[in-house]
Symmetry: C2
Subunit: 551 residues, 2 copies
C-alpha cells in the first residue's frame, strides 16, 4: 500500500550530488517519467552543456534551461533533475514551487571533488583548474548557492553510506510521509503527531526519523498479536530492519509490576541505553505498560504507540496516561508520559475480534455524546458501515475521536479539571468491572455505564427522556449490551465508586449529559438516584421498555 505523492519532484543540488541517478531511480520506483534538464538541452541543441557554455555564455544557457523547465512542469508525475545552477533564476524557482516539491541533494565538498574526479566528462565550471583550485571553487560555489538550496522543501544527504536504491527508497518514504496530514496533540514541547492511515507498516522508520526518535528501537507486543497481526507486524519489523521484538503474555492480568520488570531485565540484558525508542504494537494493556516502561527506564526514553485495537486507537494511545495495575486497584501506578508519535494502521481493525471492536465503538459513541452532536448524527447514519468496519468511515471516525481527545487533553494534560469529561460512563463502568471480577471488557462496561449515566441525568431532570432514548438506541444499534450479565449489587457498586481513583476524598464524580453533545461534571448525586440508575441495566429488575417515568 504505497502512499501517494502529489505534484512533481524536482531535484536540485550541486554537481555530483547524484541528481540524475537518484532522480531516475525515483521515477522508476514510482512508475513516473524522468526528465534531466541538462540532457534534454544537450539533445535538443546537439551540443554538450560545456560547449553551449563555452560558445554562447551562461546567460544563454540559463534561458534554454528555463524554457525546458516550463515545458516539463506542465506534465504530471515527473521526476526532474534540474541543472546545478537552474535555480539561480528566480523564475525557475517559482515554476518548481508551484508545480511540485523541491528536493536539495547535498554532499560535503570532499565527496563532491572525489566524485567529479571519478567522472570522465568535464564539468564546465571546473574546467582548467588544478585540484586545489577546484576544491576552492567548489567551496565558494556551494556557499554562493546555499540560499537557493535552503529554499528546498527537503534536504537529503547523498551519502556514500547507502547504495543509491536505498537512498531512493528512503527519500520516497520521506516525501510520502511528509504529505500526510497527521493530527497534532498540542502540548508545547511535548506535542506529538497522530498518523491515521490504512497502513503505515512500511513507513515506521521514516516516521521515527521525522519525529526525532533516533535511538535503538525495540518493538513490544503480546504473544497473541504475533499471529493475529502477523502481516502488519512483519511489515513494521522489516521497515525497522529486523528490530528485535519483546513479547508480553497477553491479558489485563499481566499488566503488573512483574511483567514490567521482565521488560526492564530484557532491556538491561541487551544493553539498551538512554537512546532507546520503545515501540508498542498492541492494544491498551501493553500500550499502557510500554508507556510506563518508557517513562521510567533510565528515567525516560522515547516512546511510540502503534495501537492495534479500536479502543486503543481512539482512547489509550492518545493523552499520555501510562501505567500498570496493583492488586488493590487498576492503573494505580503510572505516569503522564507522552509518546513521540502515534501511528494508527486501520488495517489492524479488519482482523480484530468482534467483542474487541464493539468495546472500541462504545468509546466512539462516548466522544460524540460528550462533545459533538453532529458526530453523533454521523454515527447514527453510518451504523452499517461502522459495523462493517469500512476503512473510509473508520478513518473519519478514528480521526474525529482522536481530535476530540487531543483537544481535551491539550487543555488539561494532567487531569486537573476538564479532562474528567473523558470519563463519561466510567464512574459506573469501573464499578461494574469490579463487580464482574474484571470478566467484562472495559469498553462494554463503558457502554453500560453510559446507559446508567444517561438514566441518572434524566432522573435529575438534566436530560430529556427522548435524548436518553436516542442515546440508548444508538448503543443498541451498534450491538452494545443492554444489561449487566452478572449479579448487580447496587450497594457494592456504590462503595466501589467511592474508592475510585477519580473520587475526591470519598466524593463520587459523575459526568452527566445535559444533551447529546454536552456533559457536565458533578458530585451532587444521591445514593438513591444512583441505585435507580443502575436498575436500568440490571437484568433481574429491568423492564422491557425503560422510560423516565419508572423513576
Amino acid at each position: 500500500m504505497a502512499l501517494p505523492i502529489k505534484g512533481n519532484i524536482y531535484f536540485t543540488g550541486f554537481m555530483a550530488t547524484g541528481k540524475s541517478r537518484i532522480g531516475s531511480l525515483t521515477a522508476a520506483a514510482l512508475g513516473w517519467k524522468y526528465f534531466d534538464i541538462d540532457q534534454a538541452i544537450e539533445r535538443e541543441n546537439g551540443r554538450t552543456v560545456s560547449e553551449i557554455f563555452a560558445e554562447e555564455g551562461e546567460a544563454y544557457f540559463r534561458n534554454l534551461e528555463l524554457e525546458s523547465l516550463r515545458k516539463i512542469s506542465r506534465e504530471s508525475q515527473v521526476a526532474v533533475s534540474l541543472g546545478g545552477g537552474t535555480l539561480t533564476n528566480p523564475e525557475a524557482l517559482e515554476i518548481v514551487k508551484s508545480t511540485g516539491v523541491l528536493v536539495a541533494l547535498w554532499a560535503s565538498p570532499e565527496v563532491i571533488l572525489a566524485r567529479v574526479n571519478r567522472k570522465k566528462n568535464k564539468r564546465p565550471l571546473l574546467a582548467n583548474l588544478d585540484e586545489t583550485e577546484k576544491k576552492a571553487k567548489i567551496v565558494s560555489l556551494l556557499e554562493e548557492r546555499k540560499p537557493i538550496y535552503e529554499q528546498a522543501d527537503f534536504r537529503f544527504e547523498s551519502t556514500e553510506q547507502f547504495p543509491h536504491h536505498v537512498l531512493t527508497r528512503r527519500l520516497i518514504h520521506t516525501l510520502q510521509v511528509a504529505q500526510l496530514r497527521p493530527l497534532t496533540v498540542a502540548l508545547g514541547e511535548r506535542s506529538y503527531p497522530i498518523y491515521i492511515e490504512e497502513s503505515l507498516g512500511g513507513y515506521v522508520d521514516t516516521i521515527l526519523e521525522k519525529t526525532g526518535c533516533h535511538g535503538s528501537p525495540l518493538l513490544i507486543t503480546d504473544q497473541n498479536l504475533r499471529e493475529k497481526q502477523k502481516p502488519l507486524l512483519d511489515q513494521i519489523r522489516s521497515s525497522l530492519r529486523g528490530c528485535k521484538v519483546f513479547y508480553f503474555r497477553p491479558g489485563e492480568e499481566e499488566k503488573n509490576l512483574k511483567s514490567l520488570n521482565r521488560l526492564f531485565t530484557y532491556l538491561l540484558r541487551y544493553n539498551y541505553g538512554r537512546k532507546t525508542t520503545l515501540i508498542s504494537f498492541s492494544g491498551g494493556v501493553v500500550g499502557d505498560m510500554v508507556g510506563f516502561a518508557a517513562a521510567t527506564y533510565m528515567r525516560g526514553v522515547d516512546f511510540v504507540q502503534i495501537p492495534t485495537t479500536l479502543l486503543s486507537m481512539v482512547d489509550s494511545s492518545v493523552g499520555g496516561k501510562t501505567g500498570i495495575n496493583h492488586p488493590l486497584g487498576k492503573n494505580m501506578i503510572g505516569a503522564f508520559y507522552q509518546p513521540r508519535a502515534v501511528i494508527i494502521n486501520l488495517v489492524a481493525l479488519k482482523t480484530l475480534p468482534q467483542q474487541e471492536f464493539l468495546a472500541g465503538l462504545a468509546e466512539v459513541v462516548k466522544y460524540a455524546v460528550i462533545r459533538d452532536e453532529e458526530f453523533f448524527t454521523y454515527l447514527e447514519s453510518h451504523q452499517e458501515a461502522l459495523l462493517g468496519r469500512d476503512t473510509a468511515v473508520m478513518q473519519y471516525v478514528v480521526r474525529k475521536c482522536c481530535a476530540i481527545k487531543a483537544e481535551v487533553v491539550g487543555q488539561d494534560e494532567r487531569e486537573a479539571g476538564e479532562r474528567a469529561i473523558l470519563n463519561y460512563g466510567h464512574t459506573f463502568a469501573h464499578a461494574l468491572e469490579l463487580l464482574a471480577g474484571y470478566r467484562l471488557s472495559h469498553g462494554l462496561a463503558v457502554a453500560l455505564g453510559m446507559r446508567c449515566a444517561a438514566r441518572l441525568a434524566t432522573s435529575m431532570g438534566m436530560l430529556t427522556p427522548s435524548d436518553e432514548e436516542r442515546h440508548n438506541s444508538l448503543l443498541t444499534a451498534l450491538n452494545m449490551p443492554e444489561t449487566f450479565p452478572f449479579k448487580l449489587d447496587a450497594t457494592k457498586a456504590w462503595e466501589a465508586m467511592g474508592r475510585d481513583k477519580k473520587a475526591d476524598q470519598g466524593k463520587r464524580v459523575f459526568i452527566l449529559p445535559e444533551r447529546i453533545g454536552s456533559v457536565c461534571i458533578t458530585s451532587e448525586v444521591s445514593k438513591e438516584l444512583a441505585f435507580a440508575a443502575l436498575d436500568c441495566i440490571d437484568k433481574e429488575t429491568r423492564k422491557p421498555v425503560p422510560g423516565a417515568e419508572r423513576l
Copy 2:
C-alpha cells in the same frame, strides 16, 4: 529553636476580626510588648473611641491615631493592633511598611456581624443601626477598605475553626517562615525552594502550606532513623499533627521494586488519594524511592524532601532524580520528578555517623572542583570547622553546594549536556562501587574517583601536577581514603565504565578538571591512561608519594 522575626508586627483588619486578641497572643508567644492603638488613645484621652468620634469627629481621631503609631513604631519587638480604619491614612501605611510587617486579619461579613453582636461595647461606625443596616454597612465598609487590606504583607483568616492560640501559632510560623530566604531551583512551573536552617522540624506544616502541598501527608523514613533522628522526627510529626509514618527497611539493597511496592500497597490500603504529599525523611536511598513513588503513585502526587545526611542534603535531594535499583544496574528505573520543597535541618548532621558524614564531604569537594575555586579555598581554610560539623560553616557549605547544583540543574534538567559535570569522579566511582560489590559507600567511592580523574587529567596535560597535589591534599585533610580497600582489577573497572548508564553507545564519558574550579567533558580517553589513573589508588601498586612523573 524558634526562628527570628525582624521588625514589628502590625495587625490590621476590619472590626471584630480578632486584632486585639491575636495581637496580644502573638506578643505573649514571642515575649514582645503589645500595643493596641485604640486602647492607648482611650487611656491617654480618658474617653472611649466612640466618645472621641462622637464629640470630635473622625478626622480628629485619625490624627491621634497617627501620632500614637509614630511613637510606637520607634520601638522594636512590638506587636501592634491598629484601629479598623488607621490605614485609611497613607502616612500610617508608610510608617507601618517601613518598620515591620503588616498582617491583615479577615473574616466573612456574617462572622463579623455575629461577633459584633456578641460584644457588649458598641462599635461607633455601627451605632444606631438595625441588623439589616449593620450587615449592609459592614459589606460596604469591607469593600471600601479592601484596597488597604490588600496592601498587607499577609492575609490571615481569623476563622472560628481553631482556637485563638492555635491561630496565633500558625500565624507566627507563617511570619517566621516568610522571613527565611530559601534557595530556589529555577525550573519554570516546576521551580521549588530549598530551605537550609539549623532546624525546621516544627515548621514543616507551614512550609507545606506555603508551597501548595495541601494533600494528606505521609512521612516516610527508614527503621534506623526512627531511633537515630528521633527528636527531629518527633518534632516533624507533631508539626504535622500526628501524621502517619511509613518505614522502609534500611540499606541500599532495599532500594528495589519490592520495597516500592510495599509502599504502594500501604498507600492504597489506607486510601491515600491523588491529593497526597509524600515526605521523605531520610538519606538518598529512601529519598530516591519516595521521589519515584511520588512520581508514579496515581500518576504523580506531591513530594517533599527532608534529607538527613550530608550527601542527600548536597546531592540527591536537589535535582529531581528519583529511582530504584535493578539487579542489573543501579538507578536503572526512575523518573525526573521535582520535589515541591526541600527542607534541610542541619541539626541532623550532628548525630550522623562519621563515615556517612565523610561520604557527603567528598561531594562537597566535588562542587568546589567543578565550579568554584573560591569555594575550594574556603574549604581548605575551614577544614577543622568542617570536620567539627560547625553549624554556621555547614550552613554556608550546604547552601553553596545546593546553589551550584541548582544552577547546573536549572540549565539542564534532564541531563542532556552540561549537567553531566556533576558526575565528576563518578565514572571511576561507579566502577569502583561495582568492584567492591557495593561494600564501599558512594561518597567515598567518589572521593577515590576524583583522585583518579585528577590523575587522568594530569596525565593528559590538562591539569598541572601542583593542582592535582592541591586537589588531593584537601581530600586527605578531610579524611578521605587514599586507596581502594579491595582488589583493583583495572580491566573489570574499564568494562564496567563502558556499561555505565551515562556511557553513550559504549563510549565512556569522563569529567576531567582543567584547573581547580573548572572541568570539561570528554570521551577521548585511552584505556592505557585510564589504567594508569587507577594505579594512583591501587593499594598494591601505589607508591607513597604520587606524582605526575610516574606516568
